[in-house]
């Protein structure tokens, strides 16, 4: 059977991708950002997922104002990196796990979460930056070390799905993965955040204390995190900090009891607080 072994929370700041693509990660500005992922890259090599279920958002790149699905599941065979206005990122095409994605779609929809099915979809930095920071540089003509099932969440037009809805969806995704017959090591990534505001006169807002509390809750009290209101995200973490609801999909899919094996927090990357956490399922350890 498929096993969900671990969850990763991770910011997806576009400038991090640019820093990797232009080879400036050793510069003093970027070094502390990337130092925090050294452990993670080793950990990924040791724990080798077959599939990553990757929760992210599109930044008005692939989905225009014409169509704004709350939850869109990527069921295609591949997901090319999108041109966000300066050419696609020079990273490999993302390969999907179509059978697992179809299984999750069927299971989760019957579990009363009404997903949009995407049989053709490009992906922007929201998906490719977490892949890059966790796996390191991969040449465009090479292959990513694992397959991906993307879940694209609307966090651009207010309101995004509530934290609790995301948390409950995570639980439904877990039930789907647990019932998939093939022996697969599956991980789940929740991406975005942490505190940041990109717009208007309050741009540049960072709330480190709040972010650290959120990371604590990810490990020890996810139910409390699932109850954080949209108003609190907007006020306390900036208008774009509300992306953090996507971490709750990841956390909902994990066991209630997890082990935090790594945490990294740094300000700034461009306009944003970078947060990162790795949580291992305790049930997986017992076996």
């Amino acid at each position: 059977m498929a096993r969900l072994t671990a969850g990763v929370g991770c910011s997806h700041v576009p400038a991090i991708g640019v820093a990797m693509d232009t080879g400036i990660t050793d510069q003093p500005y970027w070094q502390p950002v990337f130092d925090g992922f050294k452990f993670s890259r080793e950990w990924m090599k040791e724990n080798k997922p077959d599939v990553v279920f990757l929760v992210y958002n599109d930044h008005c790149t692939v989905f225009s104002a014409e169509c704004i699905p709350t939850f869109a599941l990527g069921c295609a065979a591949e997901f090319p990196p999108a041109d966000e206005g300066w050419g696609p990122r020079p990273v490999p095409v993302i390969k999907g796990h179509q059978k697992l994605a179809s299984h999750i779609a069927q299971s989760v929809i019957l579990d009363e979460f009404d997903l949009t099915i995407m049989n053709k979809m490009e992906v922007d930095h929201g998906l490719t930056v977490p892949m890059s920071v966790m796996f390191g540089e991969v040449e465009k003509d090479d292959e990513w070390p694992c397959l991906v099932v993307p879940l694209c969440v609307n966090v651009v037009q207010y309101p995004p799905p509530t934290g609790n809805r995301c948390y409950q969806l995570g639980k439904a995704i877990r039930r789907a993965i647990d019932s998939y017959p093939e022996d697969l090591n599956v991980m789940i990534f929740g991406t975005g955040g942490m505190s940041h505001q990109l717009q208007s006169e309050r741009a540049g807002l960072i709330n480190s204390e709040w972010d650290q509390q959120f990371l604590d809750m990810m490990t020890k009290d996810p139910v409390a995190a699932s109850k954080i209101s949209h108003l609190e995200y907007l006020r306390e973490t900036g208008s774009e900090g509300i992306e953090m609801v996507m971490w709750l999909v990841m956390r909902g899919a994990l066991d209630d009891d997890v082990t935090e094996v790594h945490r990294h927090y740094h300000v700034p990357a461009s306009n944003t607080a970078v947060g990162h956490i790795i949580l291992e399922n305790n049930s997986n350890k017992d076996e």
Binding site: C60, A65, W86, L198, A203
Partner: protein, 129 residues
């Protein structure tokens, strides 16, 4: 519908009302993702803008590059940043412009940990200043 978030200072929450008002403006901005449209915008901005059903105020805000004005008229930052990218402006420099500070001051603020949350939660806190 009550909008409790309207008391957050210096912030336009891109809700369904703003999305409706800004639809054509945002569709213009996202069109600049494609090189052929960027070329049209370079060659004849007036003619290119005329192909979108924007209000006169929205068109004028585009011409003026009134970055906060675009948000007030229903623009969303992820869309308007594509217009900024068309001008060769980075996201961080765009943020500096919207806050009315120089790029150096803004970058320095971010390096020192960003804009603090204290004093920046409620409009009433800004009005006192």
């Amino acid at each position: 519908m009550s909008k409790e978030y309207e008391d957050i200072p210096g912030t336009y929450v891109f809700d369904a009302d703003r999305s409706r008002e800004g639809y054509h403006l945002n569709m213009f901005c996202i069109s600049l993702r494609l090189a052929e449209n960027r070329q049209k915008m370079k060659d004849d901005p007036e003619a290119y803008l005329a192909t979108f059903a924007m209000s006169e105020a929205q068109k004028q805000a585009v011409v003026d590059r009134d970055w906060n004005g675009l948000l007030a008229l229903g623009g969303n930052i992820y869309y308007t940043s594509k217009l900024a990218a068309f001008d060769g402006i980075t996201f961080q420099d765009l943020a500096a412009m919207m806050t009315g500070t120089s790029r150096e001051e803004y970058r320095d603020m971010m390096l020192k940990g960003g804009r603090t949350i204290d004093g920046n939660r409620y409009k009433s806190e800004w009005e006192k200043q």
